[in-house]
């Protein structure tokens, strides 16, 4: 038995089969989410490269060979696999409540398999090709049948396809060992790598596709695909940096990451503060998430990169980067689910259209606001402990930049307050309360709100697990 067969081939294969069973919608969601839960549990319990505790004759091999290339998922990858498939299970489970189309479950499984393959493949430059394939597979979810293709989808394909060559070329250009100072070839490779990442995960100034996508297509599908891409590309980037010792100790890289992170948090938050479309507001929140990922990864500079004596150990702040995964993913899912419920009931997601919706969709409104406030780092919610840890760490390494980052988060908070005001201001003089969400929608949103509070109040429950993902 092979780890790649379990966590790469199985979801792709099952996703392929489920494409042809779209008539049975409930069974489809159950099968897809069920498989993702099983894969998460297998990642939690099954050791890789050792005999199974209950079946000593069987060992799960960590390497699969395909046409001379290797797909390696070893024991160190298990926490990440657990987290990824847990999040996929939550998203796919919620797809029935979001009514995001029948394609989401099969496509979600295939995309998860392809993105896991991107992290496992050696040499790593092949990852860019697999990420591009995942982006292409996700098109049916972003452009559902019966509606014209939106500009956001075309921009999405364009940016994903333009990003791939940069990563392929940088993988080819980058040498394993570099003498100091780095040559022009190395600088070129790093610039190409950063351009590739910027195009793939909507880093400034290549972020327009994300805002377009969030504003035009089903918010749940857009947020799911974006979250999958962001987590994979971020993990790929962190692994890439740790794989090349010289790159890990290259101090200017961390300065650039920090600058981009702060720029994205600041501009994303600022735009969110003045936004009047809830879909686009989600897009700006996603920009802030990307910015916080970049900022957290810049705080993981090892001592050598900071000018200390040679050290290869990553700083504890690297754990912060991974700690963002779960609360951000959960808040994004709750936000996107609530927006999908809004979208099923209103013409569009402008402030004018959603005015007073809290009276007819109180649970969805609460879910949207809880998620928004969590991403805006409101105390008691899941985002707060992580943002405060990040700002605290940043205040030691770059104190002048903390203000800009805090202003950005403040902008997101202002956007949340404006949304709250719009949702509770009904055009009618005496609005009547009613709850029009389905039972399934209520269950998902209430659970998400509960978890956001639990993660905010007891961060010690999950942060050690996520910090274990440090390469």
């Amino acid at each position: 038995m092979n780890s790649a067969a379990i966590w790469i081939l199985a979801p792709i294969f099952v996703g392929g089969i489920l494409f042809f069973l779209q008539r049975f919608e409930k069974a489809l969601v159950l099968a897809g989410a069920g498989l993702a839960v099983v894969l998460a549990l297998l990642a939690w319990y099954l050791p890789i490269g050792e005999a199974l505790p209950f079946l000593p004759s069987i060992t799960i091999q960590d390497t699969m060979f395909v046409l001379g290339r290797q797909f390696i998922l070893d024991d160190a990858d298990r926490p990440y696999l657990f987290l990824v498939y847990l999040m996929v299970a939550i998203w796919l489970g919620g797809s029935a409540a979001a009514r995001s189309g029948k394609n989401l479950v099969p496509v979600g499984l295939i995309v998860s398999g392809l993105l896991t393959a991107a992290l496992a493949v050696e040499p790593t430059l092949y990852a860019a090709l697999l990420i591009e394939m995942a982006a292409l597979v996700s098109i049916p979810v972003l452009a559902p049948p019966g509606k014209p293709a939106s500009r956001g989808v075309l921009r999405f394909i364009t940016f994903q396809t333009l990003g791939m060559p940069f990563i392929l070329l940088s993988g080819w250009l980058l040498p394993g060992v570099v003498s100091d100072p780095p040559s022009q070839r190395v600088i070129t490779a790093i610039v190409m790598l950063m351009l590739g990442f910027a195009l793939l995960i909507a880093i400034f100034p290549f972020h327009s596709w994300l805002i377009s996508l969030a504003g035009e297509v089903n918010p749940y599908a857009a947020a799911f695909i974006f979250f999958c891409l962001l987590s994979t590309v971020s993990k790929f980037g962190i692994d890439f940096m740790h794989h090349l010792e010289w790159l890990r100790d290259y101090a200017p890289l961390y300065s650039i990451l920090r600058l981009l992170g702060i720029l994205m948090i600041f501009t994303g938050g600022l735009w969110a503060a003045f936004q009047r479309h809830l879909g686009r507001m989600l897009g700006y929140a996603m920009l802030v998430i990307v910015g916080s990922c970049l900022l957290a990864s810049s705080l993981g500079a090892p001592a050598a990169a900071l000018g200390a004596a040679s050290s290869t150990a990553a700083s504890p702040a690297t754990g912060l980067f991974f700690a963002f995964f779960l609360p951000n993913g959960l808040a994004l899912a709750a936000w996107a689910l609530s927006l999908s419920i809004f979208k099923n009931q209103t013409e569009n997601l402008t402030y004018r259209s959603v005015q007073g919706l809290a009276y007819t969709l109180p649970v969805a409104s609460a879910g949207l606001l809880a998620a928004h406030f969590s991403l805006a780092s409101l105390p008691l919610l899941a985002g707060f402990p992580l943002y405060s840890a990040m700002f605290s760490s940043l205040s030691h390494s770059a104190p002048s930049t903390v203000i800009l980052a805090m202003l950005g988060v403040g902008g997101l908070l202002a956007g949340a307050l404006r949304t709250l005001a719009v949702l509770i201001t009904s055009p009618n003089a005496s609005p009547a309360w009613s709850m029009t969400e389905t039972r399934l929608q209520v269950i998902f949103i209430v659970t998400a709100i509960f978890l956001l509070f639990v993660m905010g109040l007891f961060p010690q429950l999950y942060i050690p697990l996520l910090s274990a993902l440090i390469p």
Partner: protein, 220 residues
């Protein structure tokens, strides 16, 4: 007098002519023929560095991408024509419409002249940059560098000029074709060639889907 190898030069001319046709001509039939000629040029350029079988994969994948797009457009025209019993003239007008041609202004004479001029500017800039590319990728010949930078530049220009699915996909295929010439020289691997062929086909399928998506059945 040194002996001149005419085949790579001819293939560069093929690539220039076909990519400029894609940039200027609004008719989808002509564009798809130009796309197939473009892949013929790419095939000749990469056959110097790749085994003939692997180079042929690029040609076949490119042609298949063109066929996929052609079939989807003809299917789209049939779908529109048959149920509503519209005349051949209406079908022709759909074939020339913005959704297949590019964007408003794509078909006007001034629009074509503008695209030709910008294409020439980008082409000249690309040709002057090509020698530097051969410094970065030492095995890259000057003809390959010319072909690749022209395709990269014209592909990006096409992407900048349109918001329509067909033209966007044609622009992406053109851009990727340019990249494939460079990367075939840098990394002459069968697996990379195969995966890039899959991506070319995937792009064509995505384009075909996006062209027809509004005529397909309603989603849940």
């Amino acid at each position: 007098m040194p002996e001149v190898d005419w085949l790579p030069l001819m293939s560069v001319l093929l690539v220039i002519a076909s990519s400029f046709t894609l940039l200027i001509n609004p008719a989808w039939q002509t564009s798809l023929v130009a796309l197939s000629i473009q892949y013929l040029g790419v095939f000749i350029l990469v056959s110097n560095v790749l085994p003939l079988g692997i180079a042929a994969v690029k040609l076949v994948a490119g042609w298949m991408a063109g066929i996929v797009l052609a079939m989807s457009i003809s299917g789209l025209l049939r779908r529109v024509a048959v149920p509503q019993d519209v005349s051949a003239i209406s079908r022709d007008s759909l074939g020339q419409s913005d959704s297949l041609a590019g964007s408003p202004g794509w078909q006007t004479r001034s629009g074509r002249a503008f695209r030709l001029l910008t294409g020439l500017l980008v082409g000249m800039a690309g040709l002057s940059l090509a020698p530097q590319l051969t410094d970065w990728v030492p095995k890259l010949s000057i003809e390959q560098a010319w072909g690749s930078v022209i395709l990269l530049g014209v592909g990006l220009l096409q992407l900048g000029f349109t918001i329509q699915p067909l033209r966007t996909i044609l622009g992406l295929l053109t851009f990727l074709a340019g990249f494939e010439i460079i990367f075939a020289t840098a990394e002459p691997s069968a697996l990379v060639a195969g995966l890039l062929a899959v991506i070319n086909l995937g792009l064509a399928l995505a384009g075909a889907y996006l062209l027809m998506v509004d005529t397909l059945g309603e989603s849940a």
